[in-house]
């Protein structure tokens, strides 16, 4: 499945070369990390054609991070579990990490106010105009064109997991069941690599997962329950726009 990356830079602007470097970075990450490209490093790692020790530092770092997150989430996030022989698999954290890195690169190039959104998971640095936070709509679980809530964020990552409408691939491997307590989980925090993994973990944990994520320093979340209630943590309480239409 492909995705689209949007890069939105507000003044101060950066050079076209800086944008092109970010674009080249994403292509490079895709080339090396895609599990759908048979000759990517990660694909070769998963099938055992590449030893962990022989992988590039980036790949080893992401495998290590994914393992660390498995432990930190009590197994709610566990990329290896679905690989034969529990092969190392960093794919669950790579997208978020690649966005974190792209934003860091743009910041080094002089950007102070920038949003990088990779298929619905994003990092929003600074603010779009002075005194105003980035306003991020949380996609309505029933309607791709609607928002269920609006968060005003500065210097935060925002990641959402959910099983919308039909189909879906998030299952609880212990039971084989598809988690059904929540329809959508949005996690905010200082790192998209972590926020993305946490959103998946909270989705598996259910509503108690919000309490869990609230205990992770700097993180918070908003969930839409199976009963179509909106629930959120204390940190998110300061971000939710109550005036926004809740549809």
């Amino acid at each position: 499945m492909g995705t689209v990356v949007s890069i939105d830079v507000r003044p101060p602007l950066v050079t076209a070369e800086a944008i092109e470097a970010a674009v080249a970075w994403f292509h490079d990450v895709d080339r090396r990390f895609s599990p759908y490209k048979p000759d990517s490093e990660v694909s070769r790692l998963i099938v055992g054609a590449l030893a962990f020790e022989a992988a590039s530092p980036d790949v080893r770092a992401m495998v290590t991070l994914a393992d660390e997150l498995r432990d930190r989430t009590g197994g709610a996030f566990d990329a290896r579990r679905f690989r034969s022989d529990a092969a190392p698999d960093p794919t669950g954290v790579v997208k978020g990490w690649s966005v974190d890195e792209a934003v860091a690169g743009l910041r080094l190039a002089g950007a102070r106010n920038v949003q990088v959104n990779a298929g619905g998971d994003l990092v929003a640095l600074g603010e779009p105009s002075p005194g105003v936070p980035w306003r991020i709509g949380i996609r309505h679980p029933d309607h791709a064109d609607r928002v269920a809530a609006v968060l005003g964020v500065r210097d935060l990552a925002v990641a959402t997991s959910g099983l919308y409408e039909r189909g879906g691939h998030i299952v609880d491997p212990r039971t084989g069941n598809v988690p059904s307590a929540l329809r959508s989980v949005t996690v905010v925090g200082p790192s998209l690599a972590l926020a993305d993994a946490y959103a998946t973990a909270v989705f598996v944990m259910g509503e108690a997962g919000l309490d869990w994520v609230a205990r992770q320093p700097g993180f918070g979340g908003v969930a839409i329950t199976a009963a179509d209630r909106l629930v959120w943590t204390e940190l998110a309480d300061g971000l939710l726009d109550r005036a926004a239409p809740v549809a």
Partner: protein
């Protein structure tokens, strides 16, 4: 709300079609972590409709066509004075009966909801990648193109 009129000054919306295959096909297990303490609140949900916007010095921006499993989807966003005034589905899937039902359901919602999103002045959308490839992404790319 925020004035973001100077679209020409903002380098915005480089919507890049990349093939990024990072999403784990399946994810994970469990955790038993209970307790309470998080704040929970009920929130009523109602549809916020809205009428058509004003015309005037408006420009239309087409979102990129996004292939969804329901078929190709593209939206057009009309902008006047830095505000979204209208959203039109340019291309809607109707290959089979199920898709046609989705289209007929989505079209009116598409209009009203993007307008209500504009009343909330959205800068971006966060959603699960799994299905954000449909209307949302196309709307996002149209908003990018509009420099909102």
């Amino acid at each position: 709300m925020p004035k973001r009129g100077a679209a020409a000054l903002t380098l915005t919306g480089l919507a890049l079609a990349l093939l990024l295959n990072f999403r784990t096909p399946s994810a994970p297990a469990t955790v038993a972590d209970g307790g309470n303490g998080g704040t929970s609140n009920d929130s009523g949900r109602s549809t916020a409709g809205s009428g058509s916007g004003s015309t005037g010095s408006s420009n239309a921006y087409d979102g990129s066509v996004v292939d969804t499993r329901y078929g190709p989807v593209q939206v057009e966003v009309s902008v006047a004075n830095g505000k979204v005034t209208d959203v039109t589905a340019l291309e809607l899937p109707n290959q089979d009966r199920r898709s046609a039902n989705i289209s007929s359901r989505a079209e009116p919602l598409l209009r009203s909801e993007a307008l209500s999103a504009q009343s909330a002045t959205i800068d971006g959308v966060s959603g699960a990648t799994y299905t954000s490839d449909g209307y949302a992404q196309s709307l996002q790319s149209a908003l990018d193109a509009a420099g909102l």
